[in-house]
């Protein structure tokens, strides 16, 4: 083959040009992303991280529906000011079951990666309904409908099945359930069992009564349950403060 390279050759073959352009611009991504799949320290080995319960997962869906991520990140960076304000820096392991992750770099509001347990349920409910009644200088919109809207729980199992397809270990069969018992313990494994999804959701919502209203399960129940679990799965008191230095 007479390989006589000419601009003309590429410029007159638009398909070839598209392929070569794609190859050229994918180099930047590939050299940064591909090694992460081979480096064995990408995801820290840490205890306690589990997939969300059905109620928390529904709360997470609402979090995304309302676009909370446009103003709130869930990624505490390893800087002193962030540690003092938000707590321990986020680990990759902590978002391993997040699809999609909520990291982000746009913070109009504060980071929420460790907001769980920081405020009472009651505060969250009031703050979501009327943010300025709690934080006068806040620019957050009001979300009053969360309290008024009944949570649609009919498709809970379907939502968990979808997440299972992208790798979240929600169980369908007995074998998968047993594997979860080994991995997460029985209490958590029960919450991850898809056939019991609706029952588990109702139980957690009634027991937690996150919105302070016992008359039913609102979207507020789900969202507050989700907010209250954020960043609480890893007990950092079990780890030295440099436990995660060697993996970076």
């Amino acid at each position: 083959m007479n390989f006589n390279f000419k601009h003309e050759w590429i410029e007159t073959n638009i398909g070839l040009m598209a392929v070569l352009t794609m190859l050229a611009i994918s180099v930047g991504g590939l050299v940064e992303i591909a090694p992460l799949f081979f480096i064995d320290k990408t995801i820290e080995k840490v205890e306690g991280v589990r997939p969300y319960t059905p109620l928390e997962q529904r709360g997470r869906d609402i979090y995304q529906r309302e676009g909370c991520y446009t103003c709130h990140s869930q990624m505490i960076r390893p800087f002193r000011d962030e540690k003092l304000r938000y707590g321990h820096y986020s680990l990759a392991a902590e978002s391993q079951y997040d699809h999609p992750f909520q990291w982000g770099s746009k913070r109009t509001g504060p980071d929420l990666a460790r907001v769980g347990g920081k405020y009472s349920n009651e505060w969250h409910v009031q703050h979501l309904v009327a943010p300025r009644s709690m934080v006068p200088e806040s620019v957050m919109p009001n979300y009053p409908w969360l309290l008024a809207t009944k949570l649609d729980i009919s498709d809970t199992a379907a939502r968990m099945k979808a997440l299972r397809k992208v790798g979240v270990p929600y169980s369908l069969s007995q074998a998968e359930y047993d594997a979860n018992v080994t991995k997460f313990g029985e209490t958590v494994a029960k919450q991850l069992h898809i056939p019991d999804a609706q029952k588990n959701l109702v139980e957690q919502a009634n027991f937690g009564n996150y919105d302070g209203d016992r008359s039913g399960i609102s979207e507020m129940d789900a969202l507050v349950a989700y907010l209250q679990v954020l960043g609480t799965m890893v007990d950092f008191s079990k780890y030295s403060d440099d436990a995660f230095v060697d993996v970076r």
Partner: protein, 306 residues
């Protein structure tokens, strides 16, 4: 015309023509650009040797630059440059600067701190930042609270006690308020009588006849209000039952209405529906013992400390 012009140029073209006569010069790159490019290549090589760079197998090249830090176990460690080690170095440095103060906070008693102007200055500034980050969302920037939701920390009315030790306990383990809903056990009329009696206790407008009936109910085994609020209505700090005689209101938003009837209605609402709120989170796991001590003194000094 363009052909004649092109022939007069010494610069080569890329060698093809579009639309018959449209050609493209193949000028050499400007010299400054070429040297800048070479400089960036050299910069990249230097950068690779200093900072973590190329992945190799399951690991990567750590780079020549090191960071030395002291971990919480007191071991001095050196690690190739990364942001997590850098954070520890940064925290060590800040901790070293603050250590004399925090050591003093740990060592001194509350009474000693109160008398030491230098420590007071430190606690005022350190406490202000801690309070703004952690407490102000509920108790508000000045500690004034939110009527109906979060208690005022600047007055001398305390649900669980305003001594240093009690404030410290509240911060460490958190609190949870609870009052049963009396609509389940009392008739509406009885709740109205109790509300009038509670209004009377605080010296606000009430119906005297209803208050007298409420007085008896308060002490009866039917309502048994005195179990928690005491037979004098002054509350019990060990269980967080509020003093009902001081005309300071948290759960019943009494000051919100001007008319006596509205004030009594607010009290009635709390008696009827009860409370399962007033949750204060526990801070023991979130803040260091020294930080909690600083906050204890800061809250005590907001105005109401006992």
């Amino acid at each position: 015309m363009s052909e004649q012009k092109l022939q007069s140029q010494t610069v080569q073209t890329t060698g093809h023509a579009w639309d018959g006569d449209l050609q493209e010069y193949n000028n050499p790159l400007p010299v400054w650009w070429v040297y800048t490019f070479y400089a960036t290549v050299i910069f990249a090589v230097i950068y690779w040797t200093i900072y973590p760079s190329w992945p190799i197998g399951k690991g990567w090249i750590g780079g020549a630059s090191n960071i030395t830090y002291v971990n919480s176990a007191g071991e001095t460690k050196t690690h190739s440059w990364n942001t997590r080690a850098l954070l520890l170095e940064d925290l060590n440095q800040a901790a070293a600067e603050q250590k004399p103060y925090f050591d003093k906070v740990s060592a001194m008693s509350y009474a000693q701190i109160a008398k030491d102007p230098e420590m007071n200055g430190f606690i005022l500034s350190a406490g202000k930042a801690l309070f703004a980050d952690n407490c102000a969302p509920c108790h508000q920037a000045g500690g004034q609270g939110v009527a109906g939701f979060f208690p005022n920390l600047t007055d001398d009315d305390w649900l669980y006690g305003g001594s240093y030790d009690k404030i410290h306990e509240t911060l460490m383990v958190g609190r949870r308020g609870y009052m049963p809903a009396f609509s389940e056990v009392l008739a509406g009329e009885q709740i109205d009588q109790l509300a009038n009696y509670v209004a009377k206790l605080s010296g606000i407008g009430h119906d005297a006849a209803k208050a007298a009936a409420g007085d008896a109910l308060f002490r009866s085994e039917t309502a048994a209000c005195y179990y928690c609020h005491g037979s004098d209505g002054k509350g019990r700090k060990d269980i967080g039952a509020p003093n009902l005689t001081d005309n300071i209101w948290l759960w019943a938003n009494v000051p919100a209405s001007d008319a006596a009837e509205g004030k009594v209605a607010a009290i009635r609402g709390v008696i009827a529906n009860g409370l399962n709120k007033g949750v204060m989170p526990a801070w023991a796991g979130r803040l260091s013992p020294e930080q909690i001590k600083v906050l204890t003194v800061y809250v005590h000094e907001l105005g109401g400390g006992q």
